[in-house]
């Protein structure tokens, strides 16, 4: 179920991708989700775009750290339970290694000017990656030419940006709208 390829090489690419993404992800969960989208949808072609959005929604509404949640699901999709474990390992190793080192050299780390500047300027690159992914996805939503979808995208943006409504709430409201949409289409038939 849901397993598309089987080879040692696949597992290695999965591990390597998760490791690299996790090693350079600063900021919240949506950052890594857009990086995963870039990697697994655009670069590797392992996942479909819609699928990645569904995974994001599931990830966001489950407990636990988002990158780990996403790794579990993507890993499962690529290579079953083994894939899940490999993906988790790739995701948690970089922060574990980095934090272990830092907890030894904490003071030096906090006062190093190169490190603090690098961490600040990297945000510009992170923002570019996320907005590039969003551009791509938003164009697709507009191309559906469904008023409901376009309106929901704009409203969800307003809700989170201006009214600070939590992502979970937005996802559950949209899920409810989706169910209503389904019931209406069933009635038409």
């Amino acid at each position: 179920m849901g397993i598309i390829m089987k080879s040692k090489n696949t597992l290695w690419i999965l591990f390597k991708s998760m490791f690299l993404l996790s090693a350079c992800t600063f900021g919240g969960g949506f950052v890594i989700v857009s990086l995963m989208n870039k990697k697994f949808v655009e670069e590797l072609g392992w996942l479909e775009e819609d699928e990645m959005l569904d995974i994001t929604a599931i990830t966001q509404s489950s407990p636990g750290p988002l990158p780990v949640n996403a790794s579990v699901i993507i890993g499962y999709r690529i290579h079953g339970v083994t894939g899940s474990l490999v993906a988790i390992l790739g995701t948690i190793l970089p922060p574990m290694i980095i934090i272990s080192l830092i907890s030894l050299f904490y003071t030096q780390f906090r006062t190093n000017k190169y490190i603090s500047v690098a961490l600040l300027v990297m945000r510009a690159g992170v923002a570019a990656v996320i907005l590039d992914v969003v551009w791509e996805l938003a164009v697709k939503v507009f191309k559906t030419r469904r008023f409901l979808y376009i309106a929901m995208m704009l409203l969800a943006f307003l809700a989170t940006w201006f009214f600070d409504i939590s992502a979970m709430t937005i996802i559950f409201v949209c899920l409810a709208i989706g169910v209503i949409d389904l019931l209406l289409s069933l009635r038409k038939e």
Partner: protein, 186 residues
């Protein structure tokens, strides 16, 4: 004994932190500082600072930091395991059902309504990071306060990405290296 306490503390953090990194902070504080007194509030503040400055999810960073401080590398592994175990079980179950039923057209209709909202959520997160990069902690967003180096890095990175000339990791690390260079030698 302490290892067992650590494991169950972080199991609770993993189980009850819904909705991402910042939701986990008060939970970790409750478990580690308030209930078990394993760390002082000052150490905890340091921990959050480090967790925010370094890559990786805040709860993984915290479990490693707390674990290492209190019980060395084994502590780090125990805490992290506790933290990710609920994720693993719950998401694996959800993944199983998702891949079993997603081809049904009814499920597709419901999920279809969800996707535009997810795009909006990602967009909003991206925009916050962009504002943070361009204006720092200032929240007035005066055009005169804009960080020029970050603005150039952003525009350049965005252009390269739109043209499909580089992957995400290269862009982020590249902007870190080039940006640091520009800041220190301008």
């Amino acid at each position: 004994m302490q290892l067992l306490i650590l494991f169950f503390s972080f199991l609770q953090v993993g189980l009850f932190s819904v909705g991402g990194g910042y939701a986990a902070i008060p939970l970790i504080q409750a478990q580690i500082v308030d209930i078990h007194g394993l760390m002082t509030l000052e150490e905890f503040t340091d921990l959050i600072t480090i967790a925010e400055m370094t890559p990786g999810p805040i709860s993984i960073n915290s479990s490693t930091f707390v674990g290492t401080r209190l019980a060395g590398p084994i502590g780090a592994i125990i805490c992290t395991l506790g933290c990710i175990l609920p994720s693993f079980v719950i998401c694996l179950t959800l993944a199983y059902f998702y891949y079993k039923y997603r081809k049904f057209s009814g499920v597709q209709t419901v999920l279809g309504a969800l996707r535009p909202a997810v795009v909006a959520l990602i967009g909003s997160a991206g925009l916050s990071i962009l504002l943070l990069a361009l204006f720092g902690d200032s929240t007035t967003y005066q055009l005169s306060d804009i960080h020029v180096i970050e603005l150039l890095l952003f525009l350049f990175s965005f252009l390269i990405l739109r043209l499909g000339k580089a992957n995400a990791v290269t862009i982020i690390l590249g902007s870190g290296v080039i940006g640091t260079f520009l800041y220190l030698f301008r």
